[in-house]
């Protein structure tokens, strides 16, 4: 198990769900200036091949439907990283009619980066922290989603029509 965790932590394929302003900080993080590939993290195109889901900023309800869909397609173990204050409590969209306020009500989040907008250094820092957590076997928010599936579904159904938008979850 330890070996498994170790290997898992050294090779993270991430899908960055480019919502909000955070997507702007991803190109410098990915490319040569900050170069996250040295930590074994590479961008991946589809959720079915990735381990890490980045939510880069505010989510509207319309996007949340797609995020939940993408999240449910990812193979376990899967990790979620929330960017910026918008994912924590709505940030500057705290009274917006269309932006969700707390991301962790709808999908479980392993680690948050605060700031508006977090710099690439902060993002790299979060990756390192996440890597540590995975190696120690601490990053198991994805288990929460499976164990408390009904609770998450209930929260989701408060903001959108879950029936229409869910896919069958293969646990």
């Amino acid at each position: 198990m330890k070996l498994f965790n170790f290997s898992q932590s050294r090779s993270l394929w991430m899908m960055h769900f480019c919502t909000g302003c955070g997507a702007m900080e991803m190109p410098p993080t990915m490319t040569s200036r900050f170069d996250m590939e040295r930590f074994g993290i590479i961008p991946m195109a589809t959720p079915r091949q990735s381990d890490l889901l980045l939510i880069t900023g505010y989510l509207t309800i319309k996007t949340l439907k797609r995020v939940v869909r993408a999240y449910e397609q990812m193979p376990t173990p899967r990790y979620v990283l929330g960017f910026g204050s918008c994912t924590i409590n709505g940030g500057m969209y705290w009274d917006s009619y269309n932006v969700i306020k707390k991301l962790e009500l709808y999908i479980p989040v392993d680690i948050y980066i605060n700031g508006c907008m977090p710099r690439p250094e902060a993002i790299i820092d979060a990756f390192l922290k996440l890597r540590e957590m995975i190696a120690k076997g601490e990053a198991n928010a994805w288990k929460k989603y499976i164990e408390n599936y009904e609770w998450y579904k209930k929260n989701q159904s408060e903001v959108f029509d879950v029936e229409k938008w869910s896919i069958k979850n293969e646990k």
Binding site: K62, W94, Y97, I100, K101, K143, V159
Partner: protein
């Protein structure tokens, strides 16, 4: 406006004169500043003015906006046109009632108006007569009052939709922690 000829507004004045001679008393034309003209038109004169301006050289339909003058009970629709030849913006503004009044669509003159009209229909609830595809555009599954109207109470809506008791307090202080399931490490 400077007198020594540094800021000449030849184009602007010519266009103003042309509109006034064509439409006479029906519309009011103001030169707001250099490169900017505002035309106040009644509802039934708006489309003729757009058509006239288009053949006068205003080929670019930049934007259609809407302003909600709730105290007057009016929506103001502003058609933003631009001409590369003259380097002049023309804002054609018209007022319609907030309730039960529709506006004929401008897509036969400027095709660009298509999506702007859809957006304004969705955000303000303005009906555009003759538009083939008013309906869901940016918002999804939206029911109730369009969100950009002044009488739409955003905070009340948010408190109800996201199940928050007092928005100004709860989201900032986060007293009540979200549920930590048995699988959590915290």
């Amino acid at each position: 406006m400077l007198k020594n000829g540094v800021l000449k507004m030849k184009n602007e004045e010519q266009i103003k004169k042309d509109i006034e001679t064509t439409f006479g008393e029906l519309v009011k034309v103001h030169i707001k500043r250099r490169h900017r003209i505002k035309v106040d038109a009644p509802k039934n004169m708006t489309l003729p003015i757009l058509a006239y301006l288009k053949q006068r050289g205003f080929h670019q339909f930049t934007l259609l906006t809407c302003v909600d003058w709730i105290k007057k009970g009016m929506f103001e629709l502003v058609y933003n046109l631009y001409s590369l030849d003259y380097n002049v913006h023309v804002l054609v503004s018209t007022h319609i009632n907030r309730e039960n009044e529709s506006m004929p669509t401008a897509i036969n003159i400027y095709e660009m108006a298509f999506d702007y009209e859809r957006e304004i229909h969705e955000m303000f609830g303005v009906e555009f007569e003759g538009h083939p595809r008013l309906g869901e555009f940016l918002l999804e599954d939206w029911k109730g009052m369009p969100p950009m109207r002044k009488d739409f109470d955003t905070r009340a809506y948010v408190e109800e939709k996201f199940n928050v008791k007092d928005l100004t307090k709860e989201l900032f202080t986060r007293k009540e922690q979200p549920y930590r399931g048995p699988g959590s490490n915290g």
